[in-house]
């Protein structure tokens, strides 16, 4: 029988918050894999989110690798083997649990805010930003590993900032070249024939992106929850995670994906570039290739940055297509401020939790997070976006690029 102590309540709140983050991670990133397929009508909106959710679920179960040391890249709250630092373990791990709680709460609030704005910001940046903010508030600036040593990519600069600068650029180039080649090769093919063929190719490559997402992102939350369990003394092994954690995380990310962040899907599928099926396939192949190759080479990157870069590239590679740079600029801004903003929110959350103190502090932090979520959900009702209107024209005018040869006759 589980003894309901204040420590247990705190742990339960951290686990709940982590699962909530995993859920926002899922719906924030549905767009990465499926925005292009929805925009080109290769899949109906409902079918697209269902397929993506199933693949995320499968992907989450596939990853047996233990991501317990996920925080070690940016902050110093764990030993190299994954166990928490002893100084944070006093009081039933209260210090560490409050850092995790505040960090996750800040990440969730930022994810919801960018969702409200329809901006595809990186969930991993939000998570890292939140953890960094809470750590700085609790342990001072020395608690953060800013720059790695030597040539091994590490720290905030090496693991987060530099990859965020490089990965969209790489994806833009790959997708641009792919799109350009595809349109060159199929120049003589009738448009309708060409498009129906590419819709199939698009579904295949988009599925690959969804699967890769499930294996990568669910793992991070599993690592955070296991760390919390170790801190609270409910788990002691560092090379394995409890089965229920895995099941809960897989279900959280998959249900998030199924709900679908329609506002973000709309921005990525319709807002950046008017995507045709050949562009969609080129973009998704580019994303899948860049994500898989970098994971092989140990180059850490954010799925969101890669997928957005690929879509922009597919607009640049097609003659006559235009990229809405205003929308892209807004996204760029969101990327730049994601880490510091999530950090700031989390730092404030940590102070609130710390000043009030004890389990009550954590309950207040949890309450503020829930209130913020409810408010943003309510605010989103003013201009609801769902599967019914996700594909409406972006600026009210029909796409000029569509008015070209559509039959088989010149």
């Amino acid at each position: 029988m589980i003894n309901v102590t204040p420590e247990f309540i705190l742990l339960a709140l951290v686990v709940l918050t982590a699962l909530a983050f995993d859920f926002t991670n899922g719906f924030h990133d549905t767009a990465n894999a499926m925005a292009t397929s929805i925009a080109t009508k290769a899949l109906s909106p409902k079918a697209a989110v269902t397929l993506s959710a199933v693949l995320n679920l499968v992907g989450a179960f596939l990853s047996v690798e233990v991501a317990l040391t996920v925080t070690n890249a940016v902050i110093r709250i764990q030993n190299p083997d994954g166990t928490p630092k002893p100084e944070l373990m006093a009081d039933g791990g209260h210090g560490l649990l409050l850092i995790l709680m505040a960090g996750l709460a800040g990440a969730i609030i930022w994810n919801l805010l960018t969702w409200l704005w329809g901006l595809p910001s990186s969930s991993s940046h939000a998570l890292f930003g939140g953890l960094i903010g809470a750590t700085v508030a609790s342990m001072g600036w020395a608690g953060v590993k800013w720059v790695g040593d030597g040539y091994k990519l590490d720290g905030v600069v090496g693991k987060v900032i530099l990859p965020a600068l490089f990965s969209p650029a790489i994806a833009i180039v790959v997708a641009m070249v792919g799109t350009w080649l595809v349109f060159r090769v199929t120049a003589g093919v009738a448009r309708r024939y060409q498009e129906s063929g590419f819709r199939w190719g698009q579904i295949g490559t988009a599925s690959l992106v969804s699967l890769a997402h499930g294996t990568n992102d669910a793992q991070k939350t599993m690592g955070v929850i296991t760390l919390a369990l170790i801190a609270a003394g409910q788990w002691s092994v560092t090379n394995d995670i409890p089965v229920w954690v895995k099941v809960a995380c897989a279900l959280a990310i998959a249900s998030g994906t199924y709900i679908g962040g329609w506002r973000i899907i709309r921005t990525m599928g319709k807002g950046l570039v008017e995507i045709s099926p050949p562009q969609g396939m080129a973009a998704e192949s580019s994303s899948a290739a860049v994500i898989l190759v970098s994971s092989q080479l140990g180059f850490p990157l954010s799925t969101t940055h890669v997928c957005t870069g690929s879509i922009i590239g597919s607009g640049l590679g097609r003659t006559g297509a235009k990229v809405r740079w205003g929308v892209a600029g807004r996204m760029g801004m969101a990327w730049l401020i994601t880490l510091p903003s999530a950090g700031l929110v989390s730092a404030v959350m940590w102070y609130i939790g710390h000043v009030i103190g004890g389990t009550t502090g954590a309950i207040v932090v949890f309450g503020i997070m829930c209130a913020a979520a409810v408010f943003m959900r309510w605010r989103s009702r003013r201009d609801p976006i769902g599967h019914h209107n996700v594909n409406d024209d972006w600026d009210g005018t029909a796409d000029a690029a569509k008015v070209t040869v559509s039959g088989g006759v010149k």
Binding site: Y151, G158, F166, V189, A190, T215, G408, V409
Partner: protein, 102 residues
């Protein structure tokens, strides 16, 4: 600075291999579509008015071969994710993948 160089070093490798697979895959697929259109004849390719294009079996065969290649590449991508997820590492001996437990 060293971190920047390390990132640059990783970035160009990702770019190079990314180009081969990420841009190569849709291009192969595009060749498949083109052969299929050529093989189908009729209105599948853009043509002068009054001309009827005849279907050609060879075109369709080439197309299916190319599609099979694309499917194989996508499946090896899936395989890669699965193998990695199960905690093995994949190294490449030339082009041939070697799977070893971590």
């Amino acid at each position: 600075m060293e971190q920047f160089l390390a990132a640059l070093d990783g970035a160009w490798r990702v770019l190079l291999v990314g180009l081969v697979f990420g841009a190569g895959l849709p291009t192969l697929f595009a060749f498949g579509i083109r052969s299929l259109a050529w093989g189908a004849g009729g209105d599948a390719s853009i043509h002068e008015p009054g001309v009827t294009l005849k279907p050609k079996l060879v075109g369709r065969l080439i197309a299916y071969l190319l599609f099979a290649l694309v499917v194989l590449l996508v499946l090896s991508g899936v395989g890669y994710i699965v193998v990695h997820g199960l905690g093995w590492t994949v190294t490449f001996n030339g082009l041939w993948p070697v799977i070893t437990p971590k």
